[in-house]
Symmetry: C2
Subunit: 312 residues, 2 copies
Amino acid sequence: MATIVAPLQHSPVEDAEVIRKACEGWGTNEKALISVLAHRYPHQRLEIRKAYQDRYHEDLIRCLESELRGDFERALYRWILDPADRDAVLANVALKNGKVDYRVIIEVSCTRTPEEFLAVKRAYMARYKHSLEEDVACHTTGDLRKLLVALVGVYRYDGDEINAKLAASEAEILHHAIKENEFNHEEIVRIVSTRSKTQLLATINRYKDTHDISITKTLAGNRENVLVDSLRAAIRCLTDKGKYFEKVLRNALNKSGTDEDDLTRVIVTRAEKDLRQIKDLYYKRNSVPVEQAVAKETHGHYEEFLLALLGN
Amino acid sequence: MATIVAPLQHSPVEDAEVIRKACEGWGTNEKALISVLAHRYPHQRLEIRKAYQDRYHEDLIRCLESELRGDFERALYRWILDPADRDAVLANVALKNGKVDYRVIIEVSCTRTPEEFLAVKRAYMARYKHSLEEDVACHTTGDLRKLLVALVGVYRYDGDEINAKLAASEAEILHHAIKENEFNHEEIVRIVSTRSKTQLLATINRYKDTHDISITKTLAGNRENVLVDSLRAAIRCLTDKGKYFEKVLRNALNKSGTDEDDLTRVIVTRAEKDLRQIKDLYYKRNSVPVEQAVAKETHGHYEEFLLALLGN
């Protein structure tokens, strides 16, 4: 369930006016921006952008870019975008920032539904005039490339059918390859990148039943290996994304210095999806409400904005 | 341009009645079937199927299956299907018939537009409860698998932008890998499987300008190698599909014994697309109208049906 609190009815024109006023003159009224934008669903934000464009002949996003600085700006900018477009931007930034942030590529390709991810690929092409597959292949090499290109390439089957015999045989294929430290074995990439999420879950459950240890725990022993770390992240994203996001939040908040990129990304992308469940998982695991941890580690308008998205 | 001749207006109910009558009693009136079905556009055939179902509470395809035998049946059955669904069936048959017919997988993944191919992938999942990627990965191995999975996986960018610098550098990457006989070089797979058709065409043009020989001719020297043959087919499908289809037709008709699978596939899948251009290319290359070659190599209702689709 989502965490954002938004009215069923709103006036896009009035919202646009509030935003215009908040940006006018010297300084910006960030509180006013948050009071409107943090409390609108994606389609409502789209309507506001349209109303703003019609009324002031200026793109709302460009206007905000010139007004805001730092973590708050980045968070608000991500938030305003349509979810598919936002994921396209996240993936592009992950590829272009010198060092490829493979975790973001895995997160975007494996936690979205096949239809959502398809929309991301369309948005990526519309924005960058390249396919996402093309850019991932271009900015990575070796085994990591093989895995990432396969993960972004697949249009995964979304049905609920489970083939138990297949789960058993593929659990053994995985076990054997991992036991031999053949993490780049093409069968691992095939199974993780092409099977439906339901089928893959059946396979890793079977793995656990047979070998008394989960496949992600087995892989955790080799976490400094980028390929193993990626495989592990992909399996976690595909089979238990709630737990995966809780962990990203926990790591981001516990880091000395806080990882604002990860923190913003999880809250912004999940606020209108399943942030409520992620919050529950966080509380269960850390015995502290995530709002409290966020309030402790962030400050100012950035803090206010994240807390608004968290449902405060 | 398409070759089929169909009326703008038709009555789906009357068409269904003609078909019913043609199938009733002892024997089948194949001529009547051809006179209706060979002269209807995809959406019209869909309306006929619906009208037939409503009126006779029976699926038209099942009814025809019980009436028809051999090449004519297979051709008519392929023809009746919606184009995306038909491609899904073609791909599935190519994968499941013991030996994988990689040429069909390449043809379907590389000659359709990105949107058309996406529809094929959706149709495949709806029909077989697996993704096409999954089944291709499952039924192939080694280098061929790498190439085919990449080709079916990609959602290719469809824009017209050309990056000339990139074309030059990637032409050199291709040239170097081919010169060293490294046909399984991951850069070849990356370039062929991820670049837009327009960009790839610029790259192979550049290759030809620099090296005075086309890349497909260079590859032709190693045609008995399945991977090289596949790469060559993919490049031809992606950059000049008309010429590719002409060649498939020519080979199918010139073979001793005629390759009915290839012949049917090209005529049925292109009749409502670009069969007119393919016919022109065929005439230019062979100095014989393709209708004449088809009439010589086939007979009976199968011949009549193919000729009808060819626009006779």
